[in-house]
Each structure stands twice: as C-alpha cells, then as structure tokens.
Symmetry: C2
C-alpha cells in the first residue's frame, strides 16, 4: 500500500504547469512571509549592501504523502517525550555519568558540562526550565510490515522552522483548494483530490510555552521593579529570521508580552546582572532606548547550539552569564546536553538496563512500550558486544549506519563500508562512534523542490517529520506545564550514491496523510 | 497650528534609534508582504536570474501628520466623486466633445477614443461598468487659513497601492504600540504618544467592488456554461505584484471567486471570444490547465494605462478585444478617458458653465459646493482669457504651475518660469498646457524614508492622500453600487530646487490626524 502511494507521486508536470506552480509559489511565499534572507555568498559582490533583500524559503511544490498512523502516533507521544527529557535533565546523577564519559572525546560537550558545573558551584537562582522541543522521525517503509514511526533525533535547543511550517501547509492547501470543483493548479492525482494537510499550530504551541514561562517567572527581582520581557538570543547574520519573527509576532500581538532580539555577540553590551542583587535578575538595555531597562523573564536561545558559535572564551563567558541569571532558560545547559546523541543511543540500546522504565516511574508500561517502539536500535561500540558484532559482520552491517558521537561533527558511514572503516581505526577510537539501525525511507518517494535561488529540482527524496512540544518543569522534576502541537515536514534530496538525482536540497514541506 | 505641528516633526534619531527602526522595518516588511520585486537594473548582472528576490516596499519610518478635517472631508466626498465620474462616463455627448478637442494634441487619447468608437460601431454587449477609483489630494497649508483639501488628480484606471497601504498603517501602528506603557520604538514626541493611524479597509473595499461586478455579470453566456472568473490584466515584469496579490487573495479566500492573472502581452494567446456567439463571452484558458476554460465576468486592468504600453497595433487590438467582450471592464476605455487631465481642468475652471451642477442634477447644492471646494482652480490656455492673463503676469504666475495636457508626458513648469516659457512657444501650442493654482504643502514637513535598496533618507517632504472608491453603473447612468473605503498616504522628497535634501524618493506612508 505505502509503496504504491509513493510510486505514482507526484504527477508529472508539463512545462506550463511547472512554470505556473513556480510563479505562484514564489509570489505566495513573499506575500505570506515564507521567506529567508539570501546567502550573501551566493549574490554578486555588492548586490545587497544594506541587507534588504529576501527570497522564498526552500519549499516543495507538492505536499508529500506520509502514513497517517505514524503521524498520529508521533503527536500522541510528544508530551511523554517532553516528560522524558525534562526528567533526564532533572536527574543529574543519571545524565552526569553519561556526559562525563563523553568529555574526553567531545570538547564541546566538555565545555558545556564545565559551564553547568561552574554555575552549580555558585548555585542556580532559577529552578524552572523551559523546553521548546522538536522530535524528528522518519516513517520506516518496507514491503514486509506496516509503516513504522522511528525517531531520528530529539532537539532540545533552537528547534527551528516552527514559525514557517504552518505557512507551507497554507501554501499547499491554497494550491489544493483555490479553484472551485477541484483544483486546476495541480495535474489530476487521487492523493491531491481527497484532502488537505492537517492543521498546524506550531506557532501557537511554541509561543504559549514562552508565555507560560514568562508568567511563571513571577514578580520582578530587580530593586527598581523593572517591566518584564522575553529575550530571543539570535545569531548575527541569521538568515532564517522570519521563522523567529513568527513567534515574536505572536508573543507581542496576542500575548502582549514585550519581546526583544539580541545578537549573541552583544550579550555583555546590552545585558547585565546587578552584582549587588543576590537574586541575579538579568537586565536588558535596548540599544535604541537605553534608559528603558527591562528584566528578562525568559531567555530563548536561537544561538549557542553549535560548537562553531563559541569562537573565544568570551562566548563561553556570555553563555555562563545567561546561565547564572535568574531568567528561565530555554534551554539550560543541562537540558541542551540531554539532547546529545549519546543519550539517545543509551535509551535506544536494545540490551542492558531498562532506562526508560526507571526514568518514567509514574508512566504505565504500555505507554513506555509505545515510546520504545519509536527507537531505531542503537549500539555503543566502546567494548565487545552486540554493537561490534553487528558492525563487523558484512551482512548485518548492511542494515546499519555508523554515526560520529561528537555533536555537530563529521559524516555518516553507511552499510557495506562500515566493517572496513572500523577496522581502519584503532580500537580505542571506536567509542567515538554509534551504530544505528537504518530507517528505511520509501524507496521511490519523489517531489519537486524550489530552491532559494529559484532553481527547480525534481528527484528522489527522504522526508522527516518533526513534532513540536513545550514543557515547563522545575529542578525537582515537577512538571508545571506540558503540551504538544504543530509539526514540520522537511524533505531532502537523497544522496547521489543512493540513486537520487536531486541531492543537495532540503525543503520545507507539508503532509498528505494516507 | 498646522505649521507648528510640522515644524517639530519627526523627532531626531540617534544612530542606534535609526538602526533599530530600519532593522525593524526591513524585517516587518518582508514578514508581512509589504514588499516589491527589486528593479533588475539596480542589481548586478546575473544576481537574480530566476526573479525570486524581493525587497521592502519604499516606506517612511514615521507616519506623517495630516489635518483631520481634510482627511474626513476626503472620505465624505468619495462616493460623490465616484458618482461624478460614472456620470461623466455615461454622458458621451459631454465627454466626447472634450475628448475630440484633444485628439489632435494627444495621440494616446486619440487612439483610446478610436478604440471606443470602433466598439461602439459594432455595438457594446455589456452595459455595466466597474470603477475602482482613487482620488488624490494634498492639504493646502498656509498661515492665513485652516488647512484645505485640494484635489491633485482623480485616477480611473489601475489605481494602485490599495493592497499595500493598510500594511504601512499596521507597521506604523505596531511601532507606536508594541511596548507597554508607551512605545520605546520612537523617541518621545507628543504626536507619537496620543494616537495611531485610522483604520484602512482599502483591500476590502476594492475587492468588494470586483466581487459585486462578478455577481452582477449573471449567468454564463458561453454555450458550454463555463465556470466564471475574474481576470487581472497585468504587465509582464510588474514589480508591484504584492499590491495586486492582496486583492487577489481577498477575492479567492474571502469571496471564493476564481481569479487569474494574465500578462497584457498574452491576451490573444490565453483568451478568445467565440465568433459564433453574439453575446461575445470572454473565455480564458489557463496555460497550466488549458482544458479548464473559464468565462471572464470582470476584467481588472492593472495595465494599458500608459502610452508606452502600446508598442504596436497588436496591443491596441488586444485592448479592443477586451473592450468588445461581454466582460465588465474595470475600466472601460471611456471611463479611462474620463480621468484625463483635461476633464479635471474643465471641471475646475472657475469661470464659464457650471458643469458640476448640470452633471450632478440630483445632488443638493451644498454637497456640490463641498466638492467644488476641493478643486484647485485650473485654466485652459487655448484662447485669451483669465488663464492667459494669470500665466503671463509674473506676479500671478508665482501662484501657479503649468502642466502639459498630454497624458503621461513631460514635466511641469513652475511659478516664475511660466511667463517666459509660454512666450517661447508659438501661441498655437499653448492649448497643450493647463495652468493650475499651486497647492501649498506644509513648508517644513519632514520624514525619514527607507528606500527599496535599504538606503535611508531624511528631508523635506510633500504628502498626497488618496481615497479609494468603487462604483458599478450602467450606460444609462444608473448606479448599482457605490462605496468608498481605505486610504493611501504617499510621501515624496521635495525637488532639490525647492530646498529639500531628500529628492528622488516616493514612499508609502500613513497618517497621524491632527
């Protein structure tokens, strides 16, 4: 069933049909803020001296089929995933042991851990944490069983595209419905006639999370009783700014909360913590109105997630400055660390201790088992055992991928290349790698993508579904708010070596459920 | 009073304040579709091969003060202005005499008139006309009297910016209100603390007009009973496309009417009138779905307004093709002609026959006199009389501007330069010019503009207020629908020779009423 759906989709386009869809999409994207700033490196020298140009966000021209049962299961499990990662973050004994094991192979993880330990030594003054999470999945599609939901990763920091994903849904919905008596925008196809993508309230869900934290902060702690605000910490030169601004707009216009954006390299210029105040309020001074100081209730990080953002000790000091303040962090350093690959691998290792059951003590076994079903098996290679056996046997290696343990580093090694690759490394380095069972994408899925430069690519694709969740909890593990809502479909061209013709694009997409 | 208001406005900006306002405005514009396509001539060669880039529409950073009494009077008079121009269009005897007088000095007017006569000879098959009008005004501000509303021109074809003007109002409103306890986005100033710009329903008003015409068209006239649609005729390479798309979106999503856009150079490729059908339905074949023919109820021209759009006889044939069809035209050729400068001059000539009273027979004298109050006196120079006297006397010339009679042609001659300029022409050419009493802009009005290339200019400005109206009438002069709503403020840099420093920009703006 699943394979048939993908085999005939999307329908072929005549040149006039493609021209129409591209023109419609380019215009619709700008009219509706489905935009990004262009990469200056791709423009001729001097083309946009004042950084005023924008372009369409990369999108698919068609929505992609996605198994309905997998979509619904992902939504049904999101609040439990929120709880799991809040619990892990609160369980410093469990998490700390994993992290300390990593510090000698991953300098970034080591630095984050040191940042946490330093603030812990001084003493945290905020016991609430906010998570805006996105759990990413693929549908495992094979001829032998029903499509199965498998997790790719769990994002605990700077989970993006919640601000744009509903716009792609709107674009595709308008294309599907804008003419009466059946759309003439697309060529005829059964999947395109029966339905539209499901509702997507990612902006509302994520903004609600920020608003709940803002409210939970309580009274100002600064002696002058400053007005309260939320602070978005962003990267200078960020091109995905309209994604962030969708949350900004919802918070300012619907929740009526003052929100400011600050570049991560301006933290010390525009914020301070009064040294005389043991409550350590984080005070923000808007550069355009420096006499109007605000106290920050919630720091929302859309920066500081990648090792290459920490160029000097000053950057680590700035991160520490935010961490030690009274503001609620989204996320804390510990919560960021809970999202590292090693944690996912330990949870997903089929043998050994049942971490899930001991972490989620109050959750019934059936629900835990549904969560476990979404894990693709992952194995540690630091010592002899099942992982090494599967990796070195050419037959079993074919069903796996080898991923680097380091955050933000290196490429994956696939299937038949695994045994020889591993043998080429000294055994002492094997612990830097994780073996993961491959998730099987629909082998014949295709789509047509419009790139940010207006080029159109058609080819084999792999789609990942993201589900957004938000949770507020305290460092005793008590959960104050837990919600899920909104989704993202991201569709990428398959690597050339796997037979695709459209490698090198990654597009925002929406789903047609089947 | 008025002069004081303008003298201290807008407040000065520190570099940080300006940087903030510019960054906010650039991002807000793209997020909210307040955009235009960049002029390819201003980009380096090859910078946007696929025409995918967009930039901020030109806007002012501050709203501009505008006298409340003038604003309200302009709104109060709009439906009467609609009626006046519908009546003129229906009164072919009155209008024809004026147009025929022009045909030897203005080839464009002559060609339009011939187009009308040719269709009239064959016989019109549609007796309804739709107007989407914009009446443009300045506030005449002098120390000696209260600000007075004076009409600059009345647009009967392709009146633009209705789709973007409310977005500028929203931008300025958000800047004025986004922080609690008084905005910190602008420096302190009394005008910026007491109010926000008035509501602006231009998109709704103009779309309603199109929807009313669509409905009034009635049953399909094509033998196959095709589905009905509205057709926007647009210029290929149009940069102001998002303005048009705002109406397109309202019509498709709120009114649920199919709408298509067609380039004016594709009229014969994508439409036809079945020669066997005496009702002459205009049939549109979407190039992306040529088997899905639609019958056009309403042709909305966002093209064909300027002489330079008619490059060959084929263009005139295409215009004739639309004119002779059964579709309701917005506007008809005659309605386009009613908006020519000569008509305005004849209405505004202070001496001679009382055209207004004879055209608006059923309107009471007080209301006619309010309409007349908005005229700046204008004079014909074809024969001896008051016009020539005022133009040749250096003292009275100082209060006037000399404008070419031709549509879309040439520059204006101002004040002291008028007598010598006229004397340099043979008297037989004087009839190609109109003398108009100058409208006095607030001498010290200033604003700060953000150009499409991101440059920021501050200087003396002149603002024009436009009020939108829509009317549906038949060729007996009977009015079926008459409404007004929405406004536009357009602010331009004063010419350098009048002391301004910011010549060469024209920006979308909004009003703060005083």
């Amino acid at each position: 069933m699943a394979e048939t759906i993908y085999a005939n989709y999307p329908p072929q386009l005549s040149p006039e049909q493609q021209e129409f869809l591209v023109a419609f999409t380019k215009d619709w994207a700008i009219q509706n803020g489905l935009a990004v700033r262009p990469n200056p490196a791709l423009l001729p020298e001097g083309a946009d001296a004042n950084h005023v140009l924008a372009t369409t966000a990369p999108v698919t021209l068609f929505p992609s089929p996605f198994p309905k049962a997998c979509f619904e299961e992902a939504q049904a499990l999101q609040t439990l995933y929120n709880q799991l990662y809040a619990t892990i973050t609160s369980n410093q004994e469990w998490l700390g042991k994993i992290i300390e094991d990593l510090t000698d192979v991953d300098e970034f993880v080591a630095n984050l851990w040191q940042t946490h330990l330093a603030v812990q030594k001084e003493g945290y003054v905020q016991n609430l944490s906010l998570g805006l999470f996105r759990s990413d999945y693929m549908a495992d599609v094979t001829p032998t069983h029903d499509p199965a939901l498998k997790q790719v990763e769990f994002n605990t920091i700077s989970a993006s595209f919640g601000g744009l994903s509903d716009r792609v849904r709107s674009l595709h919905t308008e294309l599907l419905t804008s003419s009466p008596g059946g759309s003439i925008n697309y060529p005829s196809h059964p999947l395109l006639e029966s339905q539209t993508p499901p509702a997507n309230n990612a902006v509302e869900t994520l903004s609600n999370g920020l608003a709940v934290a803002h409210e939970a902060y309580g009274q100002p702690k600064s002696s002058a009783a400053l007005p309260l605000c939320i602070l978005f910490v962003v990267q200078e030169g960020e091109r995905n700014v309209f994604d962030q601004l969708a949350l900004f707009k919802r918070l300012t216009t619907f929740h009526k909360i003052p929100v400011f954006r600050i570049y991560s390299n301006k933290i010390f210029d525009q914020t301070s913590i009064p040294s005389s105040n043991p409550s350590r309020p984080l005070v923000y001074y808007p550069p355009h109105s420096p006499s109007s100081a605000f106290e920050v209730t919630t720091v929302y990080l859309r920066a500081y997630y990648s090792p290459d953002e920490y160029k000097s000790p000053r950057d680590w000091e700035a991160r520490t400055h935010l961490e030690r303040s009274a503001a609620i962090k989204c996320p804390t350093v510990l919560n960021q660390l809970s999202g590292c690959k090693k944690v996912q691998q330990i949870l997903a290792q089929p043998t050994g201790p049942d971490h899930l059951s001991s972490l989620l003590k109050d959750v019934d076994a059936a629900r835990i088992s549904r969560l476990r079903e979404t894990f693709a098996p992952q194995y540690d290679l630091s010592a002899s055992g099942q992982g090494r056996d599967l990796a070195l046997n050419p037959e079993t290696a074919m069903k796996h991928v080898l991923k680097p343990q380091r955050e933000g580093g290196g490429n994956n090694i696939y299937k038949s290349e695994i045994p020889d690759f591993l043998k080429s490394l000294p055994e002492s380095d094997w612990k830097s790698w994780v073996l993961m069972e491959i998730i099987n994408p629909a082998p014949n899925a295709e789509n047509v993508a419009l790139r940010v430069d207006g080029e159109v690519l058609r080819g084999n694709v792999i789609s990942e579904l993201g589900i957004y969740g938000t949770i507020l909890w305290d460092n005793t593990g008590k959960i104050h708010y837990n919600d899920q809502g909104g989704w993202l479909l991201r569709t990428k061209g398959k690597e050339v070596n796997e037979g695709g013709v459209a490698a090198g694009f990654s597009s925002l997409d929406s789903v047609l459920l089947f």
